[in-house]
């Protein structure tokens, strides 16, 4: 497998997928299915390595019987393929959602609320004052039930403007990253034609 062959393969699949920009066509469809298939195969590989290194090996070589729990829970997920035993998979779902909820909930108040509140309290100049107004405006914009009075409505109007500025900044800075990613793909095509190294 020469490097040159790789360059051609990369260039051809890139062109096949970009043909979508002209319109749906057989080449794109074929590439789409190959892509989805190989990504699924790669996912199996990565899943397998995780299961082998963290679950199977400790169980078999070190006799860690507790590893039977996740291995069985993981297998339970496959009860989805039957209609009768679907409920078995709920235990695996429960453990995953439990971890996700717990891990994000425990850090949420301090890392995402209080430290941000504290950071908003500093006033050194007019800008800081404006920033505080904006933050409170955005917070009050998201009142849904209480506080439907002119004062909060005024704040939430400011909040909406501030958010539009925020989105404008987001759009502006992210075109950067999109062009950067675009150069990656364009390079693959140019390389096939020997235009860049």
């Amino acid at each position: 497998m020469s490097a040159q062959f790789g360059v051609y393969m990369a260039g051809i699949v890139t062109i096949a997928l970009y043909s979508y920009l002209i319109g749906d066509n057989a080449l794109f469809k074929f590439a789409e299915h190959l892509y989805v298939g190989s990504a699924a195969g790669h996912a199996i590989t990565m899943g397998y390595i995780n299961i082998r290194d963290l679950g199977w090996t400790p169980l078999v070589s070190k006799g860690q019987l507790s590893m039977l729990i996740p291995l069985i829970l993981g297998l339970c997920l496959y009860s989805r393929f039957t209609t009768k035993y679907i409920w078995v998979s709920r235990y695996a779902i429960a453990v995953t959602i439990g971890i996700g909820t717990g891990v994000s909930l425990r850090g949420m108040p301090s890392a995402q609320i209080l430290s941000q509140l504290q950071a908003s309290m500093v006033i050194k100049n007019v800008n800081d004052f404006l920033a505080i107004l904006g933050t409170i405006g955005v917070i009050l914009y998201f009142l849904f039930i209480y506080g439907q009075n002119p004062v909060t409505k005024g704040f939430s109007r400011i909040g909406r403007w501030v958010m539009m500025i925020t989105f404008g900044v987001g759009f502006g800075t992210s075109t950067f990253s999109m062009v950067a990613r675009g150069t990656g793909a364009v390079t693959a095509i140019l390389r096939m034609f020997g235009l860049v190294k």
Partner: protein
Amino acid sequence: MRREVPAIVLAFVGLVMIAETFLNIPAVASLSRDIKNWGIIIGGFALALGSANLARFHAVRIARKNKEWYNSVALLASMAVFALAGVTIGPKAASYSFYYNNFLAPMNTTLQGMTVFFVGSAAYRAFTVRNSEAAILLLTALIVILSSIPLGEQLWSQIPVISKWIQDVPNLSGQRGIIITSAVGSMAIGLRVLLGLERAHFGGE
């Protein structure tokens, strides 16, 4: 029962995660560590589960000889090749990484790169000043884009200054507001999940 017991398991796991942070008990810490490890292993099974779902869907399409069934064959074949190679020779093997780098990676890159074309057409199609809010959004985006390329500064020396101000003052406060409120929102849903009031994830009987 088939929903209640999983709900209790869920609440228990969630509480262990929280307790680990706030209580200095070695037993809780080690249990929490084990459970998180289990989560990683279950995640591995879920990755393969997705692929199994896909395989089933396309196997049916082939069996029924649906339109363009041959594309489904290509899908299953490429899945089998990657999975078999990964499991037998491993992803570190030269041939696996060759196909990864020259086949899977460029396709991923291509699609990611396609966003720039779409952003261009969105700018052309949708980025018009329809009302005052759209005007603010557009103007901000223009200033930020211009400030990030050398030409902007030559156009008007104040552009980078204004852009920096926009990013550090209104943008900062907007981001802060959204971080805080979203945290409140996900705390609330987290609480409902732990209390077993939210059970969509367990589905019906």
